[in-house]
Homo-oligomer: 258 residues x 2
């Protein structure tokens, strides 16, 4: 089973958490792809460079200067820090941005209703399966930065969750794939107050019940809907878990499957 | 013939020159690898971040903060700008640092007599021929950033000329290779005042004569000695030329061969 695992800012920004995660990730059997977010380092670097960070609805507005910063931070610093950390653990990693080997081709967002600037959404049909197969079949672990390539040949800042989903769905045309989202919580909880109440498995039928009961709501709802969309498109299972429990069975979190 | 072409700061720092160079580079037939230097952007970014740049004998002293900057700038901004520029020209490029797929493994400089910090010299025997072959044989163009991987798994800042030479010599074990150094001048000149006086070919015998006549001296001497060392180690030819004349026969410069 090929694993596509996504980590976000809560891991990338925390050296101790990142080290532990990389140890657990390197120990996972089989072919694997790690997708990382950018974390707060881009904001810190922007600030130091005197570039104002503008967020709308939690998304970074990416003007030309900000694009240069996220390219430096995501494809440079964060990506190579992770690649090196994996190499230290005997995991032969290669870092890719979406531009490398046309790994992730995207479409620039229209400027209406909100102009996010150099921000794009992946085009699933243009996923760089050739590049991915070349590396995975040769035994490399891919580390993907959330910077993509527009058809016009521009770099575009891209949501890392969407990048992970695009890779998982794209790889599912040639491999058995599972997608793992690491986030702040341990998984989908029966009781949001109780970290031990992780629901270990959710099928579409169970999902319907959990929605009806109001147990899955708010931010978790689109996350799970997206996950089931990936499953509809060929991904075998999607897990939602904490980066800290990656070495546990079922990643210590919630697994969605048909 | 596989081409390994190195460009330095005079091209990387000049958007118009870089665009023209990338057009000429993309048009070259056959497998190819581009090695880029870092240019002055690292100094500019360091300055903006309040990090002091220290140079000794023209080499950057690389402390931990400076290593973060060169990783961002070389492996992130410069590398992805070049990869994207090549993709726009229909050349399927993949950018690598030395850590990616253990492409260039290096040894940290000793701190005596001068402590350059996180600076390393490539170990030719550990050249990542497997990674290079995987990508080149699959039809990709490699774009290499001058950041390498120590055996201890640290990133190290590395001289781009040396990286290019290591790649050329390493690839020569499996391919017919030519190495092309683009620099500020048109080539080796009979008369340093006259740009039109390029010597088109230099053999070891001719090299001896030119040294005796004092035509090759100063900075050019170690350049040519290094070039002949690469030829001794299996590289078919080494050209020294301007990035601006890459499309001309013999790259418009001086070619060294046995």
């Amino acid at each position: 089973m090929l694993k596509v695992i996504k980590i976000g800012g809560n891991v990338v920004d925390n050296p101790a958490k990142l080290e532990k995660f990389l140890t657990d990730f390197a120990a996972l059997e089989g072919p694997k792809i790690l997708v990382h977010g950018g974390g707060k380092i881009a904001t810190t670097v922007s600030k130091a460079l005197g570039i104002e960070t503008r967020m709308i609805d939690g998304r970074r507005v990416t003007d030309e200067e900000t694009l240069r910063v996220v390219t430096m931070v995501y494809a440079g610093l964060v990506n190579k820090t992770i690649v090196t950390g994996l190499q230290r653990r005997g995991c032969n990693a290669i870092g890719l941005s979406g531009a490398d080997g046309q790994f992730i081709v995207s479409e620039k967002r229209t400027s209406v209703p909100v102009d996010f600037g150099y921000v794009g959404d992946p085009i699933p049909e243009k996923f760089g399966i050739g590049t991915a197969r070349t590396l995975i079949d040769a035994g490399y672990t891919i580390v993907a930065a959330p910077i993509t390539l527009s058809a016009a040949g521009e770099l575009l800042n891209t949501n890392a969750d969407t990048v992970a989903q695009t890779i998982a769905v794209g790889m599912a045309t040639a491999y058995e794939v599972e997608l793992v989202y690491c986030f702040e919580k341990r998984g989908v909880l029966m009781n949001v107050e109780d970290d031990a109440s992780v629901i270990s498995e959710i099928t579409p039928v169970r999902f319907g019940e959990l929605k009806k009961q109001g147990i899955v709501a708010d931010g978790m709802l689109p996350k799970l809907e997206n996950a089931f969309r990936a499953i509809d498109r060929g991904v075998k299972a999607v897990s939602i878990c904490s980066a800290e429990t990656l070495s546990e069975p079922g990643y210590g979190g919630t697994t969605l499957k048909n």
